[in-house]
Symmetry: D2
Subunit: 345 residues, 4 copies
């Protein structure tokens, strides 16, 4: 189904080239100051058409809040309905040919029909609603002192030695993107995320482990192929004797704390009070600036012509989406924790 979250639940709708994207964020507590500007800014950050390696689709991404906020700007505790009209929809721009490695074929197999234009609901445009909802979730997490930041930590053959330092992309990496773009090609990438300030004790220990929820959230993002946290994939090469996070007793404290980050901020599915660190790998977009031979679902052969509107490296736009989904997960866990909320006035 099209919902994400338990106590804070986002339900979305919208086809890429339909009238609008949008959703309902249910479960926002009442009396939280609603920062409409922050929502709009988050949408602008995600927006295509700005910078290298990004699709040329022009969307204003102006959000309209339809409910759930009082005239004074406080949440009412009722669901927040919102919509983001599709301004640059071009329904005629697309053919019925199946694009390789897209969702065209699988939608046909599942539904027997699909919104041909622009991938419909499988388009990355769907993530606009996620980013909007994530910005709302941040209204709960930020007052707790929780910060969520993501940055590109790998592009093609380049990979950051310090992925969780969240440094700006070096020239080396941008060159890889530009070179791929110039060749009409696309390239994959890594996005690393650090969630700081999460109190110890968030998350559920068995099936809704905090990292299971993060994994499900991140793997929902278009083009994501890998989720790892803490030691990550390297865990397989590690030895227990080298990866222990000992406990320390901070001066003056009566309760010990874990030191070290091998656990990635989560133990047994529950936050341990340290930074939560995870990385998502994104594949190169399969849409290239090259003619591609293909078929439609009835088996008619054709050629998908090279097109100008695509992202050379989807990872570059992904940090805003990664942050948004992380915010939804963490805010949901925060609500489940029954801790008093600092966000409420």
């Amino acid at each position: 189904m099209n919902s994400f979250g338990n106590l804070l639940r986002l339900t979305t709708f919208g086809e890429s080239h339909g009238p609008a994207m949008g959703g309902i964020l249910d479960g926002m507590p009442s009396r939280v100051p609603f920062d409409a500007e922050a929502v709009q800014q988050a949408l602008c950050r995600r927006r295509p058409g700005s910078g290298a390696g990004r699709s040329a689709r022009k969307e204003t991404d102006i959000i309209r809040i339809l409910s759930g906020v009082s005239p004074e700007g406080l949440t009412l505790g009722t669901p927040i309905g919102f919509m983001i009209p599709n301004v640059d929809a071009r329904p005629g721009d697309y053919s019925r040919l199946l694009r390789p490695n897209h969702a065209d074929y699988t939608y046909e197999m599942k539904y027997g029909i699909r919104a041909v234009a622009g991938g419909g609901r499988a388009s990355a445009r769907e993530t606009a609603s996620w980013v909007a909802a994530g910005a709302m979730a941040s209204m709960l997490t930020r007052p707790e002192g929780i910060t969520i930041r993501a940055a590109v930590s790998g592009v093609g053959e380049w990979e950051s030695a310090e992925p969780y330092s969240l440094l700006p992309l070096p020239a080396e990496a941008m060159e890889i993107v530009e070179k791929a773009g110039a060749a009409g090609d696309s390239v994959g990438g890594l996005v690393s995320c650090v969630v700081s300030g999460v109190p110890a004790g968030l998350g559920e220990p068995v099936f809704d482990k905090l990292h299971s929820r993060l994994a499900a959230a991140m793997m929902s993002i278009n083009a994501a192929k890998c989720f790892e946290y803490g030691l990550g994939r390297k865990a397989a090469r590690s030895y227990g004797s080298e990866t222990a996070d000992p406990f320390v007793l901070p001066p003056g404290a009566s309760c010990p704390e874990p030191a070290g980050d091998f656990s990635g901020g989560i133990q047994g599915g529950i936050s341990n009070g340290r930074d939560i660190r995870f990385t998502v790998a994104f594949k190169p977009t399969p849409t290239l600036m090259r003619d591609v031979e293909s078929f439609d679902i009835e088996g008619n052969r054709g050629v998908i012509p090279a097109r100008g509107r695509h992202d050379v490296c989807v990872a570059l736009r992904a940090p805003a989406v990664v942050e948004a989904m992380a915010a939804l997960v963490v805010a949901d866990a925060l609500l489940a924790s029954r801790l008093p909320l600092k966000s409420r006035v």
Copy 2:
């Protein structure tokens, strides 16, 4: 909460050293032949105490089915309650000291209390119930021609060049485990899984993508640190021009099919009819044959003495659990698909 799945939903209970583990599998269709022996065999495969690198706890893992099956051995369509008594429970075996990188500390922070003996619900013993339920889920998937197989594809510095060939573990890998065991150490590993025979069209396209569900399932397994499918983490290093799965029109067919496995059997969250391929990385167990200094939750210092009962390489026992969780995910998607079920008589 302690439930997994939508239409086929497993809810579990049990502390590692309490009277029993167990669960309820709800949503099994009626009139499916119930293979009690297969359930017991799956449990035996997962059982500790057999072979190198495995904990010495002796559990018979005899399951008792409490409901949901007719005297003739057909499912009734009602929930299947089951329990697995804990035979070798040793409640006195454990101290209140917090084991590094375990869930001891985070349970204390979340609940203010914990089942001290053996990690309680955070113990890998919990996965016995998952394996039992997975074997039941396989009663739905196997008659569809779906096979689910997992095997260790990496241990320490060794990594298989063909992870999805599911080859037996080479001597080289076993040596790594034995060496670690002899040194009182532990080592991580990879488990790769191939799900064959899944019809195209299973899975949900947005938040419940088939690979999101698989990721959540796999990251629920104790010690899992990374989930990847298809191109996996290497996707970040890939170029679109090199990773396209073209469509082909099989002779005599009217509908094209994707050729190639870069997508890992899933496109846009929906199965494409090819093998589903994913890999999970497990960290080394943090319990070592060494004395460890630690604290209890009140800050009292102590030493956790070296112990004999632990897994040197949890990845070795993980394939049965990986298969079980995959079966639960695939069977759930199968039920959601509304396809007629071949398993029903």
Copy 3:
């Protein structure tokens, strides 16, 4: 939360005097002809301002479908987002005084804030979204031969002797409403509903009994105070010997069928193939054409002046809502049944 249904799930948003009401209907199968006109007609039937005993608020109730339908008018299998703009919103029309027997006080106690204008989300205007979604659900049930009809079966002291004949309201009943209206008073009523053509076998046997779902659905409607089905409240006065529905073997059939309607079409929570019959009692609206002394939440005393915009008998408008909620329940059960859907083309 603001969602209803399992496989067919409606999530709604909207405050009575905010920009719009609306919702997302998730779970509609693909390739169902979407009858936009039927949706609009259902909304018109529910609309206030037409006829005796109804509020004078003027709403056009023009619905805008935002997603989920192909240009050719077939459902895509994706969520159907829709909105119904509030045209006749009058935010200034309302005071902060707490109206007796409304939700004003309890919203304040729960949320510490409320949408003062018109009851916000507690307004019966919310049911516009339900009626729209119910009309969509009917696109699934109608092709199965299922008909859902509700009618007023009681007003004040008048009560129909044949509630499930769904006869037009007699003059006697209309006089009761008019008299109450003329006196500035309001009056309660009964709405009876018959669901015909439901195949035997729909519904869940324990907690999601078909009549439990209907009860929850009906008690969600504003002003509903009682739900009964089959024998109803009179069951308490009945004897087993007088209320048995014997089985009969229809000529030529090999499978018996229940005869008689004491069960109200549901046995053990599951439809038995006969008409489903239930009745809902609605209280008189507490808003009267009289000045009412009250307080605001801070304890300031005041007088709520007599107003013109209210329903004398909410039961008169309720049949459209009762039918809509019944359609959502039955369509959801139909989807759960895994029967092939006749609605799909």
Copy 4:
């Protein structure tokens, strides 16, 4: 499915004449003193075989708690697994003939199979698990000062003039039951329930209205045919001018309160701080001390012989079940409210 509740969720299993009934109560907060004796006492109160008008089945109803409680008797915050062995199961006691107005026929139509013995999962024996879970839920509500009491308020032609006074059953009513029993007949009844001490603000305002949840809970009970709260069915005969609950400002208070009970303790789906009052009508059990002609599902005719084991008036045993389900609903709403819990130590 076989689960009830959101944050406090009961999932049950068990056929009437299988090895055991049981369930998992998930969501119990940690550090709540677990009163095992109270659970056992609640089961004894519900137990058949004690007193007039009750089935002669002899069940000890000894519950076994399998998880979720520490050795010191505090909840762990983990799921509470429990089982109630079926001691007096008599699988041979039943024929394949379809009992009128039971679930036999509808189970066959839904599942194509059924546990023939004793109605399987449709047996009222299922409510043993509900009563056990309800007693656990009371461990949350009782420390809040919430009391939940139910009593029979009607039997056959007798109906209490003061149903919410919860008076003992008068001789007149007992005579009705005895007379019916002597005639081999059965008779319906009413059970009224009062929930006192619920703080204002519990419940959800739209689809999970507190009374919708109560209605769904009560209509889940075997033989329930009607749910009403507050004015109840009589609401249909009422006038607004006569049923207003005015607000009062208690001496010294700064916040007004509703006075009067026409709302039944719930306004707009949310508790208003006054007693919650509702009534459930139960039909007479369709099993009589008379031979009944019927068919099996293949259309073979036969006679169900008169039997000794049945309840003359199921309403007499229902109060324990009504209280249990109300406790589950109220405890769930309490958890959702985010109020601090007095039950935790």
